[in-house]
């Protein structure tokens, strides 16, 4: 058994896979693992470092599929990709298709990854940092972050897959020249108004800034969320299908959800109006 570590980097894995293929090493003879686990397996086989004689040809489309699927975090993250690559390079293109047993797992991962990118675009929330008029103060803060400038907006997000780097480009188009930062438990990105800087290990200072940001004007959005909800149409099951509960804790509206549900369920009202509106004085218009 050959045990490899690619540091969860696609390009490293790609070099390794190329080498393995060139030596015609079967998928069941190789596994990818983090370094701590590596000594569980030992290899008696010795292979030269140079490429072997087998020249694999695969469609460009496959490389793109593999690169996207590589963002998936989970069991057999890298070995599945090698198995797909092995089969396609040996002439079996069904391995790329969702109708195939292996291909269906590949496509499930692709779907998870694109869903998670979409979750970032949808459920991430930026908070505006207070603007300090003192340039010295700004410089000190930027130095703490080890960046040239300070972000205007920060966000904390917990993606389930390694999508931050590619998916965060979306916000470059969205926020124009504004500077923003997204911190996650794993990696982080900072856009300084011109370029996107990605850190594989999110600096502690970025995480602290994003997690502790004050939001003094958050009430408006919470008010909107509570009032656009129609309690006469209560359907929490559908909501949870689209907005998985794991995102609630980082959404400002998350804490409102249980109360809105229980009020709609147990309240006396039979119409769509929010209670707080019903309590206010109304006005009939006479023409």
């Amino acid at each position: 058994m050959i045990v490899l570590d690619c540091g969860d980097l696609f390009d490293t894995w790609r070099q390794q896979a190329r080498w393995l293929l060139s030596h015609q090493i079967n998928p069941d003879q190789v596994s990818w693992s983090v370094p701590e686990d590596a000594d569980l397996f030992t290899s008696d086989d010795h292979y030269p470092e140079q490429l072997g004689p087998f020249q694999a040809r695969v469609p460009l489309e496959l490389v793109e599929l593999l690169q996207n699927a590589a963002q998936y975090c989970g069991e057999q993250r890298w070995s599945l990709l090698y198995e797909v690559l092995w089969r396609v390079s040996h002439g079996d293109r069904t391995a790329m298709l969702a109708g195939d047993k292996l291909g269906s797992e590949l496509h499930r991962r692709l779907k998870q990854v694109s869903r998670e990118a979409h979750h970032l675009h949808a459920f991430l929330r930026f908070i505006a940092l207070p603007v300090s008029p003192n340039p010295k103060d700004l410089a000190v803060k930027a130095a703490l972050l080890e960046t040239q400038s300070l972000p205007e907006y920060v966000a904390w997000h917990e993606p389930a897959h390694d999508i931050l780097r590619s998916a965060s480009e979306h916000f470059v188009g969205r926020l124009g020249r504004h500077r923003w930062m997204i911190a996650t438990p794993k990696d982080g990105v900072f856009y300084d108004g011109q370029q996107l800087i990605h850190k594989r290990q999110c600096p502690d200072a970025w995480q602290a800034l994003a997690r502790n940001a004050d939001d003094p004007h958050g009430e408006l959005w919470l008010t909107y969320y509570s009032h656009i909800f129609n309690p006469a149409r209560l359907n929490p099951r559908v909501m949870q299908g689209h907005l998985p509960a794991r995102f609630w804790k980082n959404l400002p509206e998350g804490p409102l959800i249980p109360a809105l549900i229980s009020e709609a369920r147990t309240g006396k009202q039979r119409d769509g109006q929010a209670r707080k509106i019903a309590e206010r004085k109304g006005k009939v218009i006479r023409g």
């Binding site: 969205r174 408006l220 008010t223």
Partner: protein, 406 residues
């Protein structure tokens, strides 16, 4: 009145409009530019409320003061609701604030009719113009169109907005006369025509300024009067045909406070609304005609979906051999959608389709089984009568929550 109070009243007043889509806009980006906002063509649902509905846009009324007295509407002049009015600048502030927070992808602005149709429309256009011109906002804008407004104002709106919508609300002239005496089918269709003409004018003119690039839509209320599903679907079909509408929305009538006697005070018919959306999807995406789904007066079945209903009515077409059937016919098999159809066609170019492939493609096999043949499968149920199949396949009603309306 504080901004936050206005927001609570004018969001509460806007919730009865079903549409909240931010899709189909052209690609726009603010990268390296002043101003903010982008659109990618794909809509984004930034949140979901506990009614299961998507929050994609800041959906509010400019004001809920209204001169009209539409019986189904919470904001009708005779309704005893709190009233408020935003200034255009306040709407701009809210839109930009929510947008920067990544809470919404744009604005959907509607309004009660104040002073006159033209005045109201001018105010709506002014908000869009401020956003686009003064703030260089490139996010999504959907404006409600006041049917009686001057066509020149509607044309101006179409140059700023990604989408315009004119709500037909009730699909028959009689329904409008009874429940919305100030509205008129003629002017509603005329406004749709104005928008359609505007779209046609810039078609094939790459240099012309964009006009409602995300198309126009409308909404019909379900269950405020006794209009049947057949009328709703046939109306939708002709609107898709006559004015190339992008979407028709169906809004189950939701009881309103101080409900007048002319409209029901009952829980909204959500299942009926769901079936209408399914049928509408078959019209838009699958090439069904309204006549195939309902060929006379009446309602869609509530216990089975309209695609299954069609298949049960056309047993002579089935079972279909997935290894040779036309793709358009495969897509008519219950439990198999357009996406799966494409994947099956891709797969059968490589090899024969087997039964277990369908499991992997996540077809709804319970529904598809009686209607398909694969290289290793022939349905036993092919001989079962449609009545029996329907009994096996229909949706069982959910156990009722007694506390909800009890």
């Amino acid at each position: 009145m504080q901004l936050i109070d206005k927001l609570s009243i004018l969001a509460d007043a806007a919730k009865y409009d079903a549409s909240c889509a931010s899709s189909a806009a052209p690609k726009r980006s603010s990268e390296g530019k002043s101003g903010i906002g982008s659109s990618t063509g794909m809509g984004i649902c930034h949140s979901y409320t506990p009614d299961g509905r998507c929050v994609s846009l800041l959906k509010i009324l400019l004001t809920n003061f209204c001169l009209y007295d539409c019986q189904y509407c919470v904001n009708r002049r005779s309704s005893d609701v709190p009233r408020a009015r935003f200034t255009p600048e306040e709407v701009v502030t809210l839109t930009l604030d929510f947008y920067r927070r990544n809470c919404v992808s744009g604005l959907f602005l509607s309004s009660g009719i104040i002073r006159s149709a033209d005045y109201t429309m001018e105010q709506l256009v002014r908000v869009a113009k401020l956003l686009r011109e003064e703030h260089e906002f490139r996010g999504y804008i959907h404006l409600k169109t006041i049917p009686e407004a001057d066509p020149a104002l509607i044309e101006e709106a179409g140059r700023y907005a990604d989408r315009l919508s004119v709500n037909i609300e009730l699909p028959t002239q009689l329904g409008l006369q009874t429940l919305a005496p100030e509205k008129e089918m003629g002017s509603i269709k005329q406004a749709m025509q104005t928008i359609y003409t505007g779209q046609q004018t810039v078609l094939n003119e790459p240099r012309a300024p964009r006009f409602t690039p995300a198309g126009q839509s409308t909404q019909m209320i379900v269950g405020a009067d006794d209009t049947d599903d057949s009328t709703l679907l046939h109306t939708a079909e002709s609107l898709y045909g006559d004015f190339r509408l992008k979407r028709v929305y169906y809004s189950a009538f939701s009881p309103i406070p101080n409900s007048p006697k002319s409209v029901p005070l009952a829980a909204p018919p959500l299942m009926r609304e769901h079936r209408l959306y399914q049928a509408d999807f078959l019209l838009r995406g699958y090439g069904y005609r309204a006549n195939e789904l309902l060929d006379g007066p009446g309602h869609l079945a509530l216990d089975i979906d309209p695609k299954l209903a069609w298949a049960l009515e056309h047993r002579d077409v089935f079972p279909l051999d997935l290894n040779c059937a036309e793709p358009a016919m495969i897509a008519r098999i219950p439990g198999i959608g357009i996406r799966t159809t494409k994947r099956l066609v891709e797969l059968r170019r490589q090899r024969r389709i087997r039964y277990e492939d369908l499991t992997r493609l996540r077809c709804v096999l319970a529904k598809a089984r009686p209607f398909i043949i694969t290289s290793d499968y022939h349905p036993r149920q092919a001989e079962s009568s449609s009545v029996m199949l329907r009994e096996q396949l229909r949706d069982r009603p959910q156990p009722q929550q007694m506390a909800l309306w009890g």
